[in-house]
């Protein structure tokens, strides 16, 4: 792997930038691997990276039916935070934030992680009580979160309107300063480059069409559009398509797939210093380094794989944005897209073994998987390599729905979808 540094940049600048190598290979699939990851999104690539780096597994393939960064990894609003209510969740997401803090150095790839702060607005007495409870619960769990008055919120984010005459006045806000954003494509590319350098085969345009099991029921191979690949371990990390892949092994999942929308405005000069979220009036917004306002809307009401959402869903969010930030009323929207997110009944993910020996699944991240990418990859790699969960992901099983041990962020998550 060609090391990126200021010196390498200067050397290549002097030689006309013709010395840069391809960042990863495009190998043909081998007939057999020690493990196969289905899905080359951020989570799958991070898992392959950690399997190779931490567990000495070098014969690994990542199978991606499209191209790297073409799925939800390139379709999200890049928000990273760990201010979840329950201990299981805050441990999981803060594990990821700690890895994010070192990720650019770890991967030798600038993922543009920016701890600009995520501020969640409270508009009602109920919001104030819930968010203050969140602040206290987070601090007890060692996760930073603080309460701001409306005036302090406006100091932190000057474009915010806090007029008491608003339909939903801002009564205060919860601020996690360690939270922020990262460059989503760079996360996929950085993990792909680092995994490839350790021998992981990243195979794009290769869809899995079947999972072959032996007489004992254990995983033996995967059938793909590029032939049969033998492997004793399959890790499914397929986001919205997880139900479809797991059905190939005869498993039903507690998942439903919905389109989740986002949109970006025309680029403007730097005006917005942080991330602002409001679950009561349903809007979240930040500004990318290119200058676009990045806006997240909600999910459609019905399951769908269409990768687009209904116009009234994004309109609803834009109305809230215009109410909170009147300066943005004349901004034109440039692009609008949908990603297919897999949602569990308790809105918490699953990172676990399955009832099929050799089959592992990382799914159910719903509307907020990007933030967990490094942590999820680390824990999924551990689970596959050791055939047992890491203590952090041990509660995130499939069996929790049977046993009634939910991690019920549905009513308490920071944003309501």
């Amino acid at each position: 792997m060609q090391h990126f540094s200021a010196l390498a940049l200067a050397r290549n600048a002097l030689t006309g930038h013709v010395g840069w190598q391809k960042q990863w290979r495009s190998p043909d699939p081998q007939p057999a691997y020690d493990a196969v990851i289905v899905g080359g999104g951020g989570h799958g690539l991070a898992a392959a990276y950690h399997m190779a780096r931490d567990h000495g597994m070098n014969r690994i393939a990542v199978l991606e039916k499209g191209w790297l960064g073409g799925g939800n990894t390139g379709r999200n609003t890049t928000i990273i935070r760990s201010n979840y209510l329950f201990q299981e969740s805050s441990s999981l997401y803060d594990h990821a934030v700690k890895l994010w803090e070192k990720l650019s150095q770890t991967l030798n790839y600038n993922v543009m992680f920016s701890q600009r702060g995520v501020m969640m607005l409270a508009h009602t007495v109920h919001d104030v009580q819930v968010f203050q409870r969140h602040v206290h619960a987070n601090r007890l769990n060692g996760v930073d979160n603080e309460w701001l008055s409306a005036e302090q919120a406006k100091d932190f984010c000057p474009p915010l309107r806090i007029s008491p005459g608003m339909r939903y006045p801002v009564l205060g806000a919860a601020l996690q300063r360690r939270a922020g954003t990262a460059r989503h494509d760079a996360v996929a590319w950085g993990y792909a480059r680092a995994a490839d350098a350790m021998g992981v085969d990243i195979i794009q345009n290769c869809a899995v069409t079947g999972i072959v099991r032996n007489r004992q029921g254990a995983v033996e191979a995967v059938e793909t559009t590029r032939g049969l690949i033998r492997t004793p371990k399959v890790g499914v990390s397929a986001a919205g398509s997880t139900s479809l892949v797991m059905a190939m092994a005869g498993l039903r999942m507690p998942l439903e797939s919905y389109p989740l929308q986002a949109l970006v405005s025309e680029p403007v000069k730097p005006i917005f210093p942080c991330v602002v979220m409001s679950n009561t009036i349903h809007a979240y917004i930040s500004q990318s380094d290119k200058g676009e306002m990045v806006i997240g809307a909600g999910t459609d009401a019905y399951i769908s794989y269409s990768q687009r959402g209904a116009l009234h869903v994004s309109t609803h969010t834009l109305e809230a944005i215009c109410e909170l930030f009147p300066d943005f009323r004349r901004l034109r929207m440039l692009r609008n897209w949908g990603g297919i997110v897999d949602v569990t009944p308790d809105r918490s993910p699953i990172i676990a073994k399955t009832s099929v020996p050799g089959l592992y699944v990382n799914c159910g991240w719903g509307t907020g998987g990007f933030k967990a990418t490094p942590g999820s990859g680390h824990l999924f790699a551990w689970t596959i390599a050791k055939d047992e969960p890491h203590p952090i992901n041990a509660p995130f099983t499939i069996e929790r729905f049977r046993d009634g041990v939910m991690i019920d962020e549905a009513a308490a998550a920071a944003v309501a979808h």
Partner: protein
């Protein structure tokens, strides 16, 4: 926004409707006779298909009635709709 064929009122805009999830899931007649896995299956496991999906809708801001519809989850096109209690086409 989808145009949804209510079998009572005809094509109406999506905003008038509430989604009711996968159709044809019957509540077990004797829940206490089920083990935990079978009960969790009833509560939480869903087909979540890519393609034709039989689902329930309620025309909340219209006739107020539940009905069933078949929609392709890739194109979001409705293929059929039928009244509750009728046999699926």
């Amino acid at each position: 926004m989808l145009l949804i064929p209510c079998p009572y009122c005809g094509l109406r805009p999506e905003l008038e409707f509430s989604y009711g999830g996968e159709a044809g899931i019957a509540r077990p007649a004797d829940p206490s006779a089920l083990d935990d896995a079978a009960w969790a299956d009833f509560l939480y496991q869903r087909k979540n298909p890519r393609g034709p999906h039989d689902e329930r809708w309620r025309h909340t801001h219209g006739c107020g009635r539940f009905f069933n519809a078949r929609r392709n989850t890739v194109t979001d096109m409705f293929v059929a709709s039928w009244k509750a209690g009728e046999v699926a086409p």
